[in-house]
Amino acid sequence: MSAEALLSRPAADVAADIVAGRVPRDAALDASLAAMDAANAGPDGLNAVLWTDTPGARADAAALSLDTGDLPLAGIPVAVKDNIATRTMPTTCGSKILEGYVSPFEATVIAKLRAAGAVLPMKTNMDEFAMGSSTENSAWGITRHPLDHTRVPGGSSGGSAAVVAAGVTRIALGSETGGSVRQPAAFCGIVGVKPTYGRVSRHGLVAFASSLDQVGVFGQSVDDAALGLQVIAGADPLDSTSVSVPVPDYRASRESGGDKPLDGVVVGLPEEYWPDSLDARMRELLDRAVQRLIALGADVRKVSLPHTSLAIPVYYIVAPAEASSNLARFDGVRYGLRVEGDGLRGMYEATRSQGFGPEVTRRILLGTYVLSAGYYDAYYKRAMAVRRLIGDDFTKVFASGVHVLFTPTTPTTAFVAGSKKDPYEMYMSDIFTATANLAGVPAMSQPIGRIDGLPVGGQLLASHFDEATMFRVAYALERALGGEAHS
């Protein structure tokens, strides 16, 4: 089987073939490494991959116990965002302040991937400390959109999205704080899942905003993403915010056939996500997807999430507040960059001003401000109260009998690199995604078509810990759209 053929098949099938001995254990890895070399490097490359560990990945493939283990990802290469701790490659969060830093411990999600037989040949580029929506804020250069190198792949998990979209791997890990998996998935025309807050361990995920952060999964297909989440989901004693809720079989509905596989499923269309200003061609693609959902048997109805417009202001108080705290540890004392200065204070100032880029600096300042005495009540405390209202919106709509919500993932397709100079304009690209992080509900983006060759994503949101229903709808829609999803 050719390398391209191997990469075009679902990860689950390739893993099964490797376990059965029908495909060599390092074949998928070899295909992936070749694709990476072709796509990533050089002046015309994507610059999606920051660090590689070819020998380690090969050794891991060679060491797989194919006879004994339950290895749903046997020999499958998985790309990992640079803010997830690995022992075998640096973990820099796209920041100069962590240049060369190699974690002495591994994230729980990494341990779970390894236990499932995955091999980890590469770490991917990202907006510094996951702050950004374009992967232009990396200390290691911007990542390019695989379909149009003048454009951004989205962010902050742009490197992971780009490698999956470019066919380098079938599955990649990203992280979400406010849409950082779904938005680049939509831009790149792939599937991106943000699980329920607490569904996946954050142990080893370098914190940006702890109450919003969650490891997410990219897949070339719904099944790749479902398989990836299946492996990393579950409570972890090392993360007190992870929740002990049984993990169902996310892939159970992958072959649910029949004419009406979504019979009995109620899909809500929240009016706040379908503004009059929505791009007409985007609306056409979304309407087409809705028609497919109806044809599949879904009961589609209009609903309302009245506090949606407050999500971005609330997000840009809560997330920077937590970030200003989480990033206090990067002080030049114990690890990472240290720039000497005049005394202790001088060292702190030199290290942090040279180590952090402008967007990170902006958010630390913003977060420090909103937590300061005299401003805490007016900003942070109020934002947390509004955050609860946003959460209540979801609780109410799901309590009313709606199973999933369907919305656009982003207001636009991938934009041209360097085109969003105003941070506020950049922040607005997360307008449809930040709500799920604030409410803690699961959400995903899947491709529903293209405009001028650029992918458009449709977003599904479900109630807490009901990823299974979300996947059920996503599988059915993916099959119904077929080739239309990418045209």
Binding site: S103, D239, T241, S325, L327, A328, L344
Partner: protein
């Protein structure tokens, strides 16, 4: 100007903040050892180093100990409390914030009794709150010239902070409060509570106001205190300074002062504080701490007997004086040992006398504590019984005790071997009396003629002749019968 003049007409208002290190094997938020005294940075891990991606996981045993301490201080333990981050930059604070509790502490509203008022009512100091927090590391400034070194062994060890109400009005009461507090902490067995080893740390908040005024004056905080007597002395000195400033029309500046125990002075800390904005907010890595009412009740029911309750019981159960009980309950170890000896000897009063006299003196000489003393409870009990039966005198019993410290044997066997059994056999006693009367003819004649006050001298001589083995009661009787 003398101190008494300066402070006249002013009243001191004091609140104390006491940090106690909880006795846990591991740290508050990680499995790293909380052991004291190991090589620098030996007891660290990803969490206490603040490595990227590390998350805190709460040590449940620390919460159990903190709950018990809170119950011992008669606080209300809350079913829901919340951890919060307290931010400041310092090299020995690895995360740039300390995980503490802020607006929802573990426990509130307790008290520590420090005595009784003239009308017999309880005199107590209120406890505002008890909260749980992690300790910072240690900065070492004098070890490597030109550099400061950081030891993070202490970083993340569990502490409780006990904040008193501003109820304290004298240095003496501050001392009483601290001693009572330390005793409760020791009784509940949650901390070693040693100021010398740093497992108990005290900060003083002090202000002065004219007597009769309600409004508080501006306060200063005294830190770097390393003994209870230092606390008391620093309070006197700082109070006098406040009074002196106020008396001359000056203004007290809110700031941190440092106690210098060697020079016996209180001086301003170099860096001015008070401008700190800790930017507290709820710790998002930890869910609220939820304790069930049943669990809290279980802790209450299994809490060790507290000092006040033990004192009351000792008075009623053993019929001892308040003074003796105060001493016997100084530590749980002494109180327990006393009760064991009382049971073994069957005589609580004698047991109390022995414990407070001979035993404590011996422990002082030997070092260690009462439980490590070589004379076992059973031997001491038997010895007290032997003394009570009249078989040995008190003097002989003390000699036997001294032998028991080196040699484990039956006290009665030792008495016999050493010839310390009291002789009450009339014929032997009469023989010694006759000898003494013959040796002291002048005193003998005057005594027989009725000079009774000489009896003591003669009894003493008989006792000496018997090497202490004569039963003095019998000797007195027999001698008395010779008069007239």
């Amino acid at each position: 100007m003398s101190t008494t003049n300066v402070t006249e007409g002013y009243e001191m208002v004091i609140g104390l903040e006491v940090h106690c290190q909880l006795k846990t094997r591991s740290k508050l938020f990680s499995a790293a050892s909380a052991q004291f005294g190991d090589a620098p940075n030996a007891n660290t891990d990803a969490v206490c180093l603040g490595l990227p991606g590390a998350l805190p996981v709460l040590n449940k045993h620390a919460i159990l100990l903190a709950t018990r301490a809170s119950l011992g201080l008669e606080c209300t333990v809350h079913e829901v409390s919340v951890f919060a981050r307290k931010h400041y930059f310092y090299p020995d604070l690895p995360k740039g914030y300390q995980i503490s509790q802020f607006d929802r502490p573990l426990a509130t509203g307790g008290k520590v009794v420090i005595g009784t008022h003239a009308d017999g009512s309880e005199k107590y100091i209120g406890i505002t709150r008890v909260h749980v927090e992690e300790d910072a590391g240690k900065s070492v400034h004098d070890r490597f010239p030109g550099y400061s070194a950081i030891d993070l062994n202490r970083a993340g060890t569990p502490l409780i902070e006990i904040v008193s109400e501003p109820d304290i009005r004298s240095a003496a009461d501050a001392g009483l409060y601290l001693r009572a507090l330390k005793q409760i902490i020791e009784y509940t067995d949650v901390s070693d509570a040693s100021m010398e080893e740093g497992s108990l740390r005290v900060d003083v908040n002090i202000s002065a106001r004219p007597v009769g005024h309600q409004a508080f004056g501006t306060r200063t905080e005294i830190k770097n205190l390393n003994s209870f007597s230092g606390v008391e002395r620093s309070i006197e000195i700082e109070f006098a300074r406040h009074c002196s400033v106020l008396r001359s029309g000056g203004v007290i500046e809110q700031r941190t002062m440092l106690w210098d125990g060697h020079k016996g002075e209180v001086r301003p800390a170099r860096a001015k504080e008070g401008s700190h904005d800790y930017r507290y907010f709820p710790e998002p890595d930890l869910p609220p701490l939820v304790l069930s009412p049943a669990w809290i009740q279980e802790q209450r029911e299994t809490l060790a007997e507290l000092p006040a309750a033990k004192r009351t019981r000792f008075v009623s159960q053993y019929g001892l004086s308040n003074h003796d009980v105060e001493q016997l309950t100084a530590t749980v170890a002494l109180a327990d040992q006393f009760e064991a000896v009382a049971a073994a000897s069957g005589n609580a009063k004698r047991a109390a006398n022995w414990m407070l006299g001979v035993v404590l003196a011996a422990v002082k000489v030997q070092g260690g504590d009462v439980t490590s003393h070589p004379v076992s409870v059973a031997r001491l009990g038997a010895l007290i019984k032997l003394e009570e039966s009249g078989a040995v005198s008190n003097t002989a019993a003390k000699q036997i005790f001294a032998i028991l410290e080196r040699e484990d044997a039956e006290p009665s066997a030792i008495a016999e071997r050493e010839g310390l059994l009291q002789v009450s056999d009339d014929s032997a006693l009469v023989a010694w009396i006759d000898e003494v009367l013959a040796e002291m003819p002048e005193e003998a004649a005057r005594f027989i003629a009725g000079e009774k006050k000489l009896q003591g001298v003669l009894v003493g001589a008989v006792m000496k002749k018997s090497k202490g083995s004569a039963d003095p009661k019998k000797v007195n009787q027999l001698l008395g019968s010779r008069i007239g």
